[in-house]
């Protein structure tokens, strides 16, 4: 599973980086920088939580 952001929908709330710091960090303007590799199994539940918490629903979990 990979995590991807809809960059048009994202307005930089930054919750995702708080909930999934192992995989997402923010640039200097507050927009997420996401690792492009497949998410390790141990982080999948956290990734789901981050996607659900996004206020603009801009995070997508995609089957690799």
């Amino acid at each position: 599973m990979q995590i991807r952001v809809n960059a048009i929908g994202c307005v930089g709330h930054g919750l995702c980086a708080e909930l999934l710091p192992e995989w997402i960090r923010l640039d200097q303007w507050g927009y997420p920088i996401i690792k492009s590799d497949a998410i390790p199994a141990g982080l999948e539940a956290h990734a789901r939580r981050a996607a659900n918490a996004c206020p603009t629903l801009a995070l997508r979990l995609e089957r690799g």
């Binding site: 952001v5 960059a7 048009i8 929908g9 994202c10 640039d27 927009y31 492009s36």
Partner: protein, 429 residues
């Protein structure tokens, strides 16, 4: 299938230019011969033929044409075809040339694309400023209606005059009545595009090649180029060459061959821009070793993209050229994606500071970070394209950038720009 056109001969697409009155249907048929009828070349056979030819998109992304056709055929709904002639890259002139001088070749290709995917409607899109394309297409369509040569309905669409206008999803958005801005994918246009129908979008040069492949076959197409990159292609050459313009070359030919087709260089060169404003800067010393194949260009971190090549004379300042275009591209974002809006503006502003000799000490480190972080983080390739343009400039002209950062503008900074840009961009400089 006609074999009248001898293999290996160039020009292929531009053959009709020498026959006079090319917009005329009779002249067109005389130059290129008739199209095979649907019973001679049906949808499946046509897609197979395109696949065997190895034809790839000529709009910049080089996506395999047959794969796109198959995706549209596999999608649910009645397909529609869009001929993309929105040549928003300021230097490129090949699509305008085709639409103006050889509209029948483009319309043949569009009709064939419609045949391949079972569409009964074609939209030919071009930019507002391209009024000669409009007149030429209207004239050509009237002749085709009189001759009953097409089984499809063809409409013209005038697109916004913006750098991103021709981006596939932005074009679909405009045709659907929305803004000229890219949309998030999925859905891809091949699944859901114009009027929510599966939409086959091809660059007009790609369609022109299709018109010839249908006439002469895949083997004929492959007689030029290499196994990986078969056929010919149109290239726009600008800058310090004796005869700037659009040329048809064999795919993957040497850079020297292309430069001599354009009359040879007319001054000592300071660098080369390959692939237009989303392309790469290369040192002039690369000329001797470079051919225009994917592999050779990739080794230099470049790609031919939309087929633009600029020879920058040594008398021009590469820093000033780069800064102007970076500012232009930063003003041409769609304004939708945060990383692109902020990142491209920061890059352009910092480059401008360097050119003026008043950049902060962190300028080069900032640029390095931004150019590393930005690619791939927009809905379209705009941020990635700008980063390629800027980071290859920084590496190719490292000395000149360093010199400007320390001492400010050089003698070459005041010279006439080699790379054209719409004047509005300078207001922000």
């Amino acid at each position: 299938m006609s074999t009248a056109a001898r293999a290996g001969d160039l020009p292929r697409l531009l053959r009709g230019l020498s026959f006079g009155a090319p917009a005329d249907l009779a002249g067109h048929l005389e130059a290129y011969g008739p199209l095979p009828a649907p019973r001679e070349l049906g949808a499946r056979a046509l897609i197979k033929l395109v696949e065997h030819s190895g034809l790839c998109g000529r709009g910049g992304a080089a996506f395999p044409t047959a794969t796109k056709m198959r995706a549209v055929r596999a999608a649910r709904g009645r397909p529609i075809v869009v001929a993309n002639g929105c040549e928003s890259e300021p230097i490129s002139a090949k699509d305008a040339l085709l639409l103006h001088e050889l509209p029948h070749l483009v319309l043949d290709g569009a009709a064939l694309a419609a045949r391949a995917v079972g569409a009964d409607e074609v939209i030919v899109a071009f930019e507002e400023s391209n009024s000669t394309a409009r007149r030429s297409l209207e004239h050509a369509l009237a002749q085709r209606r009189a001759a009953r040569s097409d089984a499809v309905r063809v409409e013209l669409f005038v697109a916004d005059e913006r750098f991103l206008s021709g981006q596939e999803t932005a074009l679909v958005s405009q045709i659907n009545g929305g803004p000229a801005k890219p949309t998030f994918t999925p859905p891809r246009p091949t699944d859901r595009g114009v009027r929510r129908r599966p939409t086959l979008i091809h660059n007009v040069e790609t369609l022109a090649h299709l018109a010839l492949i249908a006439r002469h076959g895949a083997e004929w197409f492959r007689e030029l180029g290499t196994a990986d990159e078969p056929g010919s292609r149109l290239v726009t050459v600008a800058g310090a060459v004796s005869a700037p313009g659009v040329y048809e070359i064999e795919s993957a030919t040497s850079l020297r061959t292309l430069l001599s087709a354009a009359g040879g260089t007319s001054a000592e060169l300071g660098g080369l821009l390959v692939g237009g404003y989303f392309g790469s800067w290369l040192p002039a010393a690369a000329i001797g070793q470079l051919d225009l194949s994917r592999g050779s260009l990739a080794r230099h971190g470049a790609a031919l993209g939309c087929g633009v090549l600029v020879a920058l004379p040594a008398s021009s300042c590469p820093v000033a050229e780069t800064v102007r275009i970076a500012i232009y591209l930063a003003t041409e974002t769609a304004g939708q994606c945060g990383p692109c809006v902020h990142g491209t503006a920061a890059i352009a502003r910092t480059l401008h500071g360097i050119a003026e000799g008043r950049a902060p000490r962190t300028a080069f480190a900032d640029l390095e970070r931004w150019t590393a972080e930005l690619p791939g983080r927009g809905a379209c390739h705009h941020p990635s394209g700008l980063v390629r343009f800027v980071s290859t400039a920084l590496s190719t002209f490292a000395e000149q950038f360093d010199d400007h950062a320390r001492h400010g503008p050089c003698h070459g900074c005041d010279g006439d720009p080699v790379l054209p840009f719409p004047a509005a961009a300078l207001a922000l400089a």
